[in-house]
């Protein structure tokens, strides 16, 4: 009797063995900011990532997906600690997320050293697109220069002859202001970097801009700082006098607070919520339904694409994650339906994509929404791709 029971038990275990291996979940680590005023961005990314998982039945190639969300608290050192923890303690198969370029740069080494595949859903540090590029690192967002370069092109189209640049003093802020200078053909009459993230009073910089009397002011202030900047810009008497051109300052996370201040202020973006492809329509509609009172922002769209990119790669290797070379090729193929329409990578794993001009308008219900006004440039590749040694 005991022998039969033992035999039956062992047989069951053996049978269950391969089945359990098949059911071993795919672990994805997601690092973003979930505390403080910029938590609204992290929440948007998490909501979109979760929505993408819902849409694919929470399985990739038949294996269940487990996501571990970690909060970088908007600090590079904390982001690096959380990345280390995800790789060494949780043994995640993929890492995704990263809003801030400085957090990304601090967290890059452990990821690359451990040969873990990473999908960056926002941060666009130019070094990662250039000399620090890695076969394991992919981006569903952009390189920091691309969006301001597109805005520079738009300013040329609009006949702007001189511009005053204002932005925060950190990796992305410098990249953004430099990006405008790459394509803008007019004169740069001023370049002011403000202490980040503590300085919220831009009166000194706005006064300088007013004194320089440029044709336009270009500004980059993500998150809550965008609200403060637009408020102070209006109060300094500049609204209606010196036009404002922006990148990443007006989006669905800051628009509800900026309200009328954002109307008529153009911004450049690689994704706008009204892009007319099927995947995007489904994403936006289901997001609004699942999270009432909220609209997805570009941060969310990039996270949604990140989830689908990972799923496409896992499907291509049929769930067998040990073949890193095959996984890399699958990632590079990017065979998934992006909410941007078409999607392809450059040699440095940064997307080659269109950039659109967006403006804030009031819709029929009186809500503030962003609308695509024009396509600034199509299939635009970032300027750092030749610094990357990969082919």
């Amino acid at each position: 009797m005991r022998k039969t029971l033992l035999a039956a038990g062992t047989a069951l275990l053996l049978a269950a063995g391969p089945a359990m291996a098949q059911q071993k979940p795919i672990k994805i680590g997601f690092v973003s900011t979930f505390s403080g005023p910029v938590a609204v961005i992290g929440n948007d990314m998490r909501n979109s990532f979760e929505l993408a998982l819902d849409h694919m039945g929470r399985k990739m190639a038949g294996r269940p997906v487990e996501v571990i969300y970690e909060d970088d608290g908007f600090k590079p050192e904390v982001g690096k600690q959380k990345t280390d923890k995800l790789i060494e303690a949780d043994h995640v198969d993929f890492i995704a997320g990263y809003i801030w370029s400085n957090v990304l740069l601090a967290s890059l080494k452990p990821v690359v050293d451990s040969k873990t595949f990473m999908v960056i859903a926002n941060a666009g540090a130019s070094q990662v697109a250039g000399e620090l590029c890695s076969p394991y690192v992919f981006s569903t967002s952009w390189q920091n220069d691309q969006t301001p370069e597109a805005m520079g092109m738009y300013m040329n189209q609009k006949g702007v002859k001189s511009v005053f640049l204002i932005g925060p003093n950190y990796a992305a802020g410098k990249d953004m202001l430099d990006g405008v200078t790459h394509t803008f053909k007019g004169k740069i009459v001023g370049r002011e970097l403000t202490t980040w993230p503590s300085q919220l009073d831009f009166s000194a910089e706005l006064a300088k801009a007013k004194a320089a009397n440029p044709d336009a002011i270009f500004v980059f202030y993500p998150g809550k700082a965008g609200v403060q900047f637009l408020t102070q810009y209006a109060q300094a008497g500049l609204k209606g006098n010196i036009p404002l051109y922006t990148a990443f300052t007006i989006d669905e996370t800051s628009l509800p607070l900026q309200k009328d201040l954002a109307l008529g202020v153009p911004g450049a973006q690689e994704w706008v919520n009204d892009l007319p492809n099927a995947a995007n329509k489904k994403f936006v509609a289901d997001y609004i339904q699942k999270y009432p009172g909220h609209r997805p922002s570009f941060y969310g769209a990039q996270s949604y694409d990140a989830a689908n990119l990972i799923a496409s790669a896992v499907a291509a290797v049929k769930g067998n994650l040990s073949d890193k070379e095959a996984l890399r090729k699958a990632f590079e193929k990017a065979d998934f339906k992006s909410v941007r329409g078409g999607f392809k990578f450059g040699n440095n794993h940064i997307p080659i994509q269109n950039f659109y001009l967006q403006e804030a308008v009031k819709d029929a219900k009186g809500d503030y929404v962003l609308k695509t006004v024009a396509t600034i440039v199509k299939d635009y590749q970032d300027a750092s791709h030749d610094k990357c040694p990969m082919k």
């Binding site: 505390s35 403080g36 005023p37 938590a39 609204v40 003093n169 370049r191 002011e192 970097l193 403000t194 202490t195 503590s198 300085q199 919220l200 009073d201 009166s203 000194a204 006064a207 300088k208 007013k210 004194a211 809550k224 609200v227 403060q228 408020t231 102070q232 209006a234 109060q235 300094a236 008497g237 607070l257 309200k259």
Partner: protein, 306 residues
């Protein structure tokens, strides 16, 4: 160039006056009650949060602001009775520990009540314009009103401290606390009132900066450091010292951030100047504090202490 200079001076004046409101309460509490109150920044935050909520509730900016002041005063007095009374007479390090705990407590309380994302306080349209103060010089009406209100409050504080009986007790307490207690004055009530006054001033500063800057958790922490710098520069316990020091710090910081980068560009290579300037200009006020400490360690206008 002169319009820029005038505008930057006004910005510096506005910043300095806002800092004065915060520092006045801090220096009073430090001087009279010998209490290092790190939670002063939390009262600043509470004032802003109350103002945002009450303005939305009543629909009027002025009414919301007044109610928020009253609420912050009450919260301040409650904090004094419940928490601060246990800290009197103890080592300053105990004060630091206790009030640091209060910071954490208030941060979490605000997170529980109002959520983690912060609020916004929109300006009423009659304040959201710019006025021409001099031919060719336009300035934000709201920032102008901050200057006016702060100067009025500074004037009121002067009258209170120099010309009333309560003010006399405050000055006496700052100068020699034990003697005041020995003379039979109700020291407990005095302490509660002084702490409440400090809280109301901090709340006023918080609610005034809210429409142009921020209403978020932890907003008091950065500005509290500057308030302590002012207290050190001005002299502990002295409101006059706090006023002069606050204006000094306001001007040095604003004019420094505005013009120091240009100065650097004259002497350094443009690339080095661009990288160094933002960092160096934010250091200027601490440099000022270091200089004052070296030349006059007790501050510029210390209240006489035995």
């Amino acid at each position: 160039m002169t319009t820029l200079f005038i505008e930057q001076c006004l910005n510096g004046l506005q910043f300095g006056l806002l800092l004065f409101l915060l520092a006045a309460g801090l220096t009073l509490v430090f001087g009279i009650m010998d209490l290092v109150n790190l939670a002063h920044g939390s009262l600043y935050m509470i004032g802003a949060y109350f103002a945002a909520t009450l303005t939305a509730w009543t629909g009027s900016f002025v009414l919301g602001a007044l109610l928020a002041l009253v609420c912050t005063l009450l919260v301040g007095m409650a904090v004094e009775v419940i928490a601060m009374r246990r800290l009197y007479g103890r080592d300053h390090l105990d004060h630091v520990l206790g009030t640091f705990g209060l910071i954490l407590f208030f941060d979490e309380l605000v997170r529980l009540i109002w959520g983690p994302e912060g609020l916004s306080l929109p300006l009423p349209s009659w304040l959201n314009t710019s006025v021409t103060i001099l031919p060719g010089v336009q300035y934000s009406a709201y920032r102008l009103s901050i200057i006016v209100v702060s100067l009025a409050v500074a004037g009121f504080l002067y009258v209170l401290v120099m010309r009333t009986r309560v003010g006399m007790l405050i000055r006496a307490g700052a100068s020699n606390r034990e003697m005041v207690g020995a003379l039979g004055v109700n020291i407990k009530l005095l302490y509660t009132l002084v702490f409440g006054l400090g809280a109301a001033l901090a709340g006023l500063a918080g609610l005034m900066q809210a429409p142009i800057l921020t209403v978020q958790i932890g907003m008091g922490e950065n500005i509290l450091i500057i308030a302590f710098v002012i207290t050190v520069i001005g002299g502990i316990g002295s409101i006059r010292g706090a006023f002069i020091a606050a204006l000094l710090v306001g001007f040095v910081d604003t004019l420094g951030r505005a013009f120091f980068p240009d100065l650097l560009r004259l002497v350094l290579a443009p690339n080095t100047a661009a990288t160094a300037a933002p960092a160096l200009s934010s250091m200027l006020i601490y440099l000022l504090m270091a200089i004052v400490l070296v030349l006059r360690p007790e501050g510029l206008f210390p209240a006489v202490r035995k």
